[in-house]
Symmetry: C2
Subunit: 296 residues, 2 copies
């Protein structure tokens, strides 16, 4: 299959839903503008696409779950806005554009993040109860899993340790904790979403989660490598910033070659985790390889 084309097509579905959801007549507030600014800054929509692809892997039509899948992009976008703040990673550029606080100031950037996170839960419940493809109990379980993966025991917990570990002597356990929580947790729950909404059994959910965690870690390692090897103009954000901030990263701890090897191993394990699935899971398999080969 042509994975680039698949990603492009699925991204268009997500973009079109987000565009119509955030196209509110007579809404001229700076807050809404700031939310749109970051949401439509050229994101690849990887997390929503993973949710759609996992749902398809369970034999279902991805079109049914576009709103739920899209909600993951709101959570991801909020996390980027807050991570870029001066008190956090202090990044001026993201996706080739000035970061939210550079354009709107810190207060509105913080509030735009807060509003996007909150809106994710409005989006998750937007089509209910008319969306009769999805069971109410599945939706509740999904809301629970998403909040657990995004909060103190997930993404926010990882970011907090990332920030407080700057300038610390790197150690294997801290590094593993940061990567798993900061990045892999949200990616894994995006994949799992497809299984939960398809009402899959626990074995299937476990395979999807396992796949999601492995590609999530591989994704973060690749990000760390690109931060070392990439060029600012290609990445659209400051290359070399991790070393400057003395971040605890894979390349800093293991070196580039071993990091690359580890990312490739994780992709192989992720694909193995899908052994139970038919060719319906081919997009998931292709995405795994794609994520570590990307240049941005």
């Amino acid at each position: 299959m042509d994975i680039e084309n698949y990603l492009k097509e699925k991204r268009a579905l997500i973009d079109s839903y987000l565009e119509s959801y955030f196209n509110i007549p007579n809404e001229h507030s700076v807050l809404h503008k700031a939310m749109r600014y970051s949401l439509f800054a050229g994101g690849k929509r990887i997390r929503p696409i993973l949710a759609l692809s996992a749902y398809r892997a369970c034999g279902k039509d991805p079109k049914h779950i576009i709103p739920y899948a899209s909600a993951m992009e709101l959570i991801h976008t909020y996390s980027l806005i807050h991570d870029d703040l001066p008190s956090m990673d202090n990044d001026d550029m993201r996706r080739g554009k000035p970061t939210s606080h550079k354009v709107f100031g810190e207060a509105i950037a913080i509030l735009a993040g807060d509003a996007l996170l909150t809106e994710a839960f409005s989006m998750l419940t937007n089509n209910f109860p008319s969306a009769n493809e999805i069971k109410p109990t599945s939706l509740i379980r999904m809301i629970r899993e998403i909040s657990l993966s995004s909060g103190v025991h997930g993404m926010v917990g990882g970011q907090a340790l990332d920030i407080s570990s700057e300038n610390s002597k790197p150690d294997r356990d801290t590094l593993a904790f940061i990567h798993f929580h900061k990045t892999a947790a949200l990616i894994a729950v995006s994949v799992k979403m497809g299984g939960i909404l398809a009402d899959s059994d626990e074995t299937t959910l476990k395979s999807l989660t396992n796949y999601g965690e492995k590609i999530g870690l591989a994704f973060q390692i690749t990000d760390d490598i690109l931060n070392v090897e990439g060029k600012t103009e290609e990445l659209g954000k400051a290359a070399g910033s991790d070393a400057k901030m003395r971040k605890m990263t894979y390349p800093a701890f293991y070196g580039i070659e071993r990091s690359r090897q580890e990312a490739n191993n994780l992709v192989a394990e992720a694909i193995d985790a899908l052994a139970l699935f038919s060719s319906d899971a081919d997009p998931l398999r292709e995405i795994a390889s794609y994520l570590v080969q990307r240049r941005v």
Copy 2:
């Protein structure tokens, strides 16, 4: 009824639930510490108590909904942490203690707010599906209403306009928008929660919402008056800060006497909105009067 005693008793129920929920063995992270610091800083738990009292007004036993009611306190606490940040209201003291960013630094304060907001949705879905008192569809509707009242079309929207209107010429419509969104929306949805979880009809929900919006506005006007008339040591936060920041407030626009009159009118209207209810709604009636008579 003895309203002070009622509030004390209900507050103890909420505190005890929150204490057990956030008592996590072997959790020593600074993020978790920061979440606890603000959550257990002496809040009055007004929003959860309103939810319990509205549920009782619908003829039900408040003990069934303690986890759902408590989630409102997480959202309220997150909003205080973020509002106090240097880029927002820049407050050093809250409830007689240094604010979160003074103790933990800005990055952890922002993340503690993020984590508390996220955790609210974990708490709302924590007891499900075992909590068989509550219908799945009611829980989904509640999650939807809470997120709508807390986000860009509710609390966060109000805070954004509050921040961006500092130093502007006060006008009636902007002031009304700020108060309604920043404060009344979250208070109103806390009251409505009791009705939604009790599976009440739309007329009942409308009365509860109406009551909630009126007391929410009265609550904010009282807060504004106390900011002018109160003493820092009694309030536990900086008196006079609104005038210093040139905030758009009721006393600034209408003067103290007319503001007090408006708060009293709103309380009377709130109590009128409960005409349909039996004596089961007496706590709600008493709380309305209590909120504008308070000194802190």
